[in-house]
Amino acid sequence: MTNDRQRQEKADTAPVDAVACTGLAYTFGETRAVHGLDLSVAEGEVFGLLGPNGAGKTTAIRCITTLLPVPAGMVGVFGHDTAGDRMAVRRLLGYVPQQLSADAGLTGRENVALFARVFDVPRRERGARVGQALAAVDLTDAADRLAGTYSGGMVRRLELAQALVSAPRLLILDEPTIGLDPIARTGVWEHINAVRAATGMTVLVTTHYMDEADQYCDRVGLMHRGRIRALGTPAELRRGLAERRGTDTLPSLEDVFRDVAGSGLDDTSGDFRDVRSTRRTAHRVG
């Protein structure tokens, strides 16, 4: 009895991982998109999932966001299993998919208000909450313009506001800066960082821009062919490679990636569908 209580108290006080994947696997027909992924993201960190097109990043994200069904015990979000406790998981998530997903036929404010409604924000609070989310991404002045008139960077920030309006504990961003010019990319990251600093939320981001991951992520997982090949802070990974090579010059994260992925990277980087989807997003961003 006492042991049970002690165990329970320990469980209550032990930090729960924001994301915990254990042997996550997902197959599309004959293609093994994710193949034994083990991953834990601690609460409050910015974790980057890195890899080329087709590495399995987006599939992993779709499993974590409950979009793809996985067996019980494979994916947990703040201790809730995505197989059995889907609604509880979704209430904790803010999700920005790779495509530009704001509705061009609605104003910025209406786009955010829709997400306030579907997360059950009461009417008396909705206006103020939507206003705060728009202000947090510097879109107050453009809030009543149609999203179709926004630039690529503004759309991304609007999507960030849509995700923030429900006060998520875990913000998941799939390639948030794809196709953006360098200034807009910096703008998006600065807003992600400011929001994270103010709210303390956990951020899980996928990207294939190694420089961004190096600069903005606390920890990264390098993913290749459905598995994590290296895991650590960007500095740790770079130092590790320098030690293995016995050099003093610190290699880049891209060098680390080439090292762990081996040869043949270019041949496996995404199928036709991946490339089409990526190019379409890049084209829409302009």
Partner: protein
Amino acid sequence: MSEAPAAPPTASADRADGIDLLLRPPRPRAGWRLLPARVVAMCAVELQKLRHDRTELYTRAVQPALWLLIFGQTFSRIRAIPTGGIPYVDYLAPGIIAQSAMFIAIFYGIQIIWERDAGILNKLLVTPTPRSAVITGKAFAAGVKALIQAVVVIVIATLLGVALTWNPLKLLGVAAIVVLASAFFSCLSMTIAGVVLSRDRLMGIGQAITMPLFFGSNALYPVSIMPGWLRAVSRFNPLSYQVDALRGLLLGTHAHIALDLGVLVVAAALGIAAASSVLGRLAR
């Protein structure tokens, strides 16, 4: 496309003060209140979109106007179709309301595939909204859009001299019938979308089913003059029940309103169940 460099965000006091609501997750709605809340949310989006861009409203008014103006007036003169003593254009008006509502609803499958491609659907499916609520929301949004279209057709018909009822209770009944039937047809289209998964295939199938649904109903002519096989088709066609109820309510002709309403409620419920069950395929 580039944007003006954003000023680096600062951790100033006013910013820190301005995010207090974003630190507090909203309290979940209790079970039974969730579905109506999601339906209202999706209907609101549909109305907001229509408010910003009314082009669709105007362009979609052209076809029903042509049907009533050309087909209706011509056949009124020919008197080839037995209408039970009322002018043919009057007889036709409820059929054209049903037809234009169906044409709107049948596009929802294409819309949901477009939303899938744009990432909008995935984002919605990651919110605390059960799949059946996503589909019910879309189904009723189709109903709201069809209702606005129905008002347009009623105005056109009135301008052409059709004597429709102005009894508010009957008009409320008309609204219910239009919403239910549109919910069914939008779900039929979204179910096919969930099966075929591509816009091109869906457009082909949509074309192939809308005309048979229209001609295999009592929208243009009474069931009594149909050949036996078409009469059998008409019995399984929800459009026939919709037209029968609309005619009864708007023109006061003999109709089986309770049966019509029952069939449409069951059809809409089955449609919602079918479309919800295949929605997961679109998310993959």
